[in-house]
Structure formats: C-alpha cells, structure tokens
C-alpha cells in the first residue's frame, strides 16, 4: 500500500519534470522558440522561418503567437519559463523586461547601425536610468493615421488637410453635406488612444513622462489643449460615439459610411478584407496650425530581441541577423502594411504613401501613452473622460492615478 502512494507521487513529479526538458529534439536539431505578440503576422513569420530553416538545416524555430500575448508573456515570466527569441512591441512591457535585466544588450553590436536612430532613441527612453542600454532591435514600425475614403473625399471636393484649421474645416464640410465626418469606435477603449496619441504626441512637452515622474510636469499644467482638442473632434462623430467597437467600425468604414477613420496602418488590411475595392488614403493628423511642426505618431511595433540567458546564443544570433537582412525586412513590411525601422527599406504601397513620406523625412514622434505607467490603464480613463467630458476632473485624475501607480 505504501508503494502505491509512492508511485502516485512519483509519477506526478515525473510528469512535472518531463515538461521542463526537451530543448534538444530527437533529430539533433537545436530548437528555438520565437514568441510573438502579433497574431496578425503569424503567416509572414512562418514563411520567413521556413526560409531560415532551409538555410540553417540544423536549427528548428518554433513560433508561438498566442492571443493576449503580453499577458501570456507576463504569466510565463512568473513561471520563469521563457522563450529564446522575442518579437514584441516597444512599449512599457519592454522597458520592464529590460529593467529586470532579462534581455540581451545590443548597444555595441553592428546590427544597430542600420536602424533609424529615431526609433532606437524611442526604445531607449523606455528603459529607466540604472540599466540604460538598447535591449532590442527595432524592426517594424507602425503609424497612427487618419485614414480617408478617397471617393467620399473627392465627392466633397476636399484636399488632404495640413493644418488644424483646415482639418476642422474638412470635418465641418462633411457634416454640412450630411456625411459622417469621423467614425468613432469608442466602445473599445483602446481605439480612443489613436486620436489621443496624435493630439498629445504633438502638444505635450518633450520627455513628458520623465518630467512628470520628477514632478516637473503634470497633466493639469500641460494637457489642457489636448483635452480641448479631443472634445472638439468628438463633435464630428456619430450620434452615439460609444455604440460601436473596432470590428463594427471596420465594417462600416469599408462600406463608405464615413469620411475619416482614426486608426493605425494595421487597420488597412482589415478594411480591404471587408471591401477589396475601397480606395483609401492616409495622412498624419495635423494637430497645430504650423505645417512644419505637425509630426506623425510612429512607434516601434515590432522589435526583435533575445533573452540574456539562452542555451543557444549562436543560433539565436544567426536568426536575428537573418531577420535584419533587407530581403526579410521588405517582405515583412509589405505583407503587414507596416514600415521598416531599417534605413533604406521603404513601404511602397500607395495607400500608405502619405504617411511613408513623413517617416522618410524623419518627421516622427513617439506614442505618448507608451511612456505612461501601464498599471494606470490610461485607455479606460480616457474613455471615461470622453463620456463625461469634464476636463478638470479628468486631468486631475490622470495626475493622481499616475502618482498612485508609481508609488506602489
């Protein structure tokens, strides 16, 4: 009887141990795990991996791209079960991983030389003081755009606006003609961040997050113009801006129900899926009346990095170098409607030309919310503000929530 008990316990433990092994597969290949936070790019990654495996027959790369990937990655951190390679966004999570000294430092590698310095700077700002360095390679970038329906634009006789006043005038014209100027999808809190980032990115002081943490800046002092302009934009929306979500919005906009749509480049494939014949254009939201000052909000959507501690540093390096080659970078941005962080690799698609121009001219600035502490859950606070429309109370709350999260 005693032996039965032992057997049960023993087999339980064996089961637990077994799941921990298996790095070297039976056929002598080295297994690497690539963790990606973008389910949209699974197809592209799989074809790139296939090519890589043909060139390196002794390496087997396994792609893992679950939904809610950031959350999954955090839970895996808790279990200390980490992948070899990461493909993640340049957001607060990257900063936390770098700060926790989990990632490899690429500061002194040649790979970094080919990447647009503006993007390197963006991810450097995410890493707090003590561990300064570049712990990843910006790969593909995204942009916050105003997407417009070319047909509706022509019918209304409008040109692409270059200043805030022109922009408002265009919205005004659409409204007078009975066309919905902007299709808001604010039931999904995150979609409110697109106009928010466009407006705030152009209007907030440089290095706002750093100053805010040091007590040199605050939402109450520096964000009143932002909230003002957000409320102005809201007047040009639907009867109820909080009725529809992102998917509803894609369907409606692709079927020509509005003039403008505040979304990122990532929405374009979705829109084309709904209506392959739609003619779209993009531009950066002109937030000020000074043409030269208006910058495009662009961020590091995908960066490739690896764990500091891996059993196969050589194989990992080979894969990273392979991905950074022009051919692969070009394929990635073409299939994903993205932009490349690698100098000289340009997005040729006509829909994105208005935005690509800004990137080529280096007229870009980063997403402000990537520097807000993630525990604050800014999208929900902003959604609440857009419903309540109380500027003072909201700015005050943003300040308090920020401080509260930092203090924890």
């Amino acid at each position: 009887m005693k032996r039965l008990g032992l057997y049960v316990v023993g087999s339980l433990c064996a089961g637990l141990l077994l799941s921990g092994c298996g790095d070297q597969s039976a056929d002598g290949k080295v297994d690497l795990e690539l963790f990606s936070n973008k389910p949209e790019s699974i197809g592209t990654y799989e074809s790139l991996i296939e090519r890589f495996e043909e060139e390196h027959p002794d390496i087997n790369v396994e792609l893992y791209a679950p939904p809610s990937a950031d959350t999954v990655l955090r839970t895996r951190l808790v279990k200390e079960d980490l992948p070899d390679l990461l493909s993640i966004a340049g957001s607060a999570l990257y900063g936390e991983l770098a700060d926790a000294e989990l990632l490899k430092d690429y500061s002194d590698t040649e790979l970094l030389d080919r990447i647009q310095p503006a993007y390197v700077e963006m991810i450097d700002q995410l890493v707090p003081g003590e561990n300064e360095g570049t712990y990843g390679l910006p790969y593909a970038t995204n942009a916050n755009a105003v997407i417009y329906n070319k047909e509706v634009m022509n019918e209304l006789g409008l040109e692409v606006p270059e200043t805030w006043d022109e922009f408002i005038a265009a919205l005004e014209t659409a409204q007078e003609e009975g066309v919905t100027p902007v299709y808001f999808t604010l039931k999904d809190a995150w979609t409110g961040m697109i106009p928010w980032n466009a407006v705030a990115g152009n209007l907030e002081p440089d290095r706002f997050a750093e100053k805010k943490t040091n007590g040199e800046a605050s939402f109450q002092d520096d964000y009143s113009e932002v909230t003002e302009k957000m409320l102005t934009l809201l007047d040009y929306g639907l009867k109820d801006n909080f009725q529809y979500n992102y998917n509803d919005g894609n369907n409606a906009f692709a079927n020509g129900e509005a003039l403008f749509y505040f979304q990122g480049n990532w929405a374009i494939p979705e829109l084309k899926k709904v209506n392959p014949d739609i003619e779209l254009g993009t531009f950066a939201m002109p937030v000020t009346n000074n043409r030269e000052e208006n910058e495009l909000i662009s961020g590091v959507d995908v960066m490739i990095t690896s764990l500091k501690e891996t059993d196969h540093p050589d194989e990992v390096r080979q894969f990273v170098e392979f991905m950074m080659e022009d051919e692969q970078a070009k394929q990635y941005i073409e299939e994903q409607y993205a932009f490349s962080a690698i100098e000289g690799v340009e997005q040729g698609d006509e829909v994105l030309s208005g935005v690509q121009q800004k990137i080529a001219n280096n007229e870009i600035t980063s997403f402000p919310d990537h520097y807000y502490p993630s525990g604050m859950q800014a999208p929900n606070l902003i959604q609440e503000f857009l419903i309540e429309k109380d500027q003072d109370a909201f700015l005050n709350k943003m300040d308090r929530e920020w401080e509260k999260v930092i203090r924890r």
């Binding site: 009887m1 039965l4 008990g5 049960v8 316990v9 339980l12 950031d70 959350t71 955090r74 839970t75 951190l77 808790v78 200390e80 607060a92 999570l93 936390e96 700060d99 926790a100 000294e101 989990l102 604010l186 039931k187 809190a189 009867k239 109820d240 909080f242 009725q243 529809y244 979500n245 509803d248 993630s374 525990g375 604050m376 859950q377 929900n380 606070l381 959604q383 609440e384 419903i387 309540e388 929530e401 509260k404 999260v405 203090r407 924890r408």
Partner: protein, 287 residues
C-alpha cells in the same frame, strides 16, 4: 477495521495531494507575495502591509467593490426569483414537460463567451435598430456604451445564462415534496398561494439556501461574462474585482499589489458565505 480505514485514506490521498500542489500552494504563494513588491518576475523586497493600505486608498479598487456587490446582489435575487418560478412551472403537469426542461437548460451548456458575443450583438445592433424602428429615438443606443447603464446589460446576460443551473437545483428540490401533502392541503381548502407559502417554500428551504449561496459566490467572482461584454468599460464602470485583479496583476505588472487585493477579497467572500449559510439555515429551522 484498521485496514479499511487505511484504504479510504489512500483513496482520498491523491486528491488531497493534487489539491495541495495546484491550489493550496499557489494560494499560500499569493499571500506571501502580497507582502512584497514583486512585479511577477525579477527582483523583489518585503514591503510589509503597504500593499494592503494602498488597496483601501485606491479609488479604482473601491469602485470595483461597489460594482461587484451591486451586480452580485441584484443578479442573485433575480436569478432566484426566475429559477424558482421556472422550476415550479416545469414541475407541474404540463405538456412537453421533458422538452421544455431540456430547452430551459440550454443556456447552461453554452459557453459564456459565446453568449457574451451574442448579447453584444443584440445590445449593439439589434436593440438600437428595434428602438429606432419603433420610434423611440432616445432609447436607440447601446446601453453597454453608457457608464450608468452598462451594468444592467451585464446583469441581463448573467441572469439569462445563470437561471438554467439554479432551475435544475430547484427542480430537484420540488421533486422531494410528496404529493399527499398537497392533497391534504386541497382537502383543507388552501389556495395556490397558501400552498406555495406554507408547503412548497418551507419544504425546499435547504435548496433555497444552497441556491442563494452558490449564486452569490459565483456572481461575486464574475469575470468571463464581463470580459465578453464590456471588458470592464466604458471607463471602469463594469470592472469587477476579479477583472481588476487580473488586469492590474498581469496587464499592469502589479502582481504583488493585486495579490493583496485578492487576499482581502478572499476573506470577504468567506465572511459573506458563512454569514449567508448561518442566517439562511437558522431560517430553515424556524420554518
């Protein structure tokens, strides 16, 4: 006799071990980390009761507690009213009784996420369109997009989905009542309402207790229906405590802080459940 006892002990042991490894141990770990500043990975230090004090000052947490209790109490009452009524109907001698029982049990089999997506469609497109068609312009909007009304949307879906399970429990209870009690009441000239109040309800009192406790506990831990319907929005209007713990802990990197919140919440649920059982069981005896 002794060897029989050992056999029973051995039968119970695997479950105990598995329960301890996969449940009790993580709970203890969570309690331990609630006294640290752990982010879920990396370095950490002990911070004493700081996390606990911060929870009590956190407007967002207090808001989540308020929403959760409001939601749980209203849903528990509604679910019990509806499921008792349906169970009485399904227990009576009516046509298609078996078919109807199966039909009313359906919502319980459907995945709550699927139900959520269907209701999302109803609230976003179907109801507003219907209202507009009927001429009620002011009502033609998505209640899930309104911070004052969104919680009602969650209640409606939850009640629709949860009634099925409690109906089954009440049905089981109703079938334990012997027919001759009612016959005796008929002879005494009791009307239907009297029969319900004096016979049916007291005799299924234990089922009422268990239904109240189970429903309340389930709704206090509401998570998936909210993820499917509103994901806590608009703003933070429908953020339940479980959702807050999940979002803050895993998406916001506040593992230790939300562990403290979870410990507090665990204690509250235990207190409520014990209180409910005490009060309701005392009432059972009195009746």
């Amino acid at each position: 006799m002794k060897s029989r006892q050992r056999a029973f002990l051995l039968m119970a042991m695997p479950a105990v071990i598995i329960f301890f490894v996969f449940h009790t141990y993580p709970v203890l770990q969570g309690v331990f980390y609630s006294f640290t500043n752990w982010r879920g990975y990396g370095e950490w230090d002990f911070v004493g009761f700081k996390n606990y004090l911060n929870v009590f000052q956190d407007g967002r947490a207090l808001n989540a507690y308020w929403f959760t209790f409001k939601f749980a109490i209203v849903s528990t009452i509604l679910v019990n009213i509806f499921s008792l009524a349906i169970a009485m109907g399904l227990n009576a001698k009516i046509k298609f009784r078996k078919t109807l029982r199966a039909l009313y049990f359906l919502p319980n089999i459907l995945s709550i996420l699927i139900v959520g997506f269907i209701f999302n469609f109803i609230f976003t497109h179907f109801l507003p369109d219907l209202m507009e068609w009927a001429g009620f312009e002011s009502l033609a909007k998505n209640i899930l997009g309104d911070p004052d009304l969104a919680w009602l949307g969650v209640v409606i879906m939850t009640v629709w989905q949860a009634t099925a399970f409690n109906t089954i429990l009440y049905l089981a209870g109703l079938q334990t009542i012997p027919e001759d009690v009612y016959e005796a009441a008929d002879i005494d000239g009791a009307n239907a309402w009297k029969k319900f109040l004096k016979i049916t309800f007291p005799l299924i009192a234990p089922f009422f207790t268990i239904n109240m406790v189970l429903a309340m506990k389930n709704f206090l831990m509401a998570f998936d229906q909210i993820v499917a319907l509103t994901n806590g929005g608009p703003g933070q209007a429908t953020e339940s405590i479980s959702l807050l713990i999940y979002k803050g802990g895993f998406e916001g990197g506040e593992f230790a802080y939300q562990s403290a919140n979870a410990v507090i919440y665990f204690i509250i649920i235990v207190i409520i459940s014990v209180f409910q059982i005490r009060v309701l069981q005392k009432r059972e005896v009195e009746m």
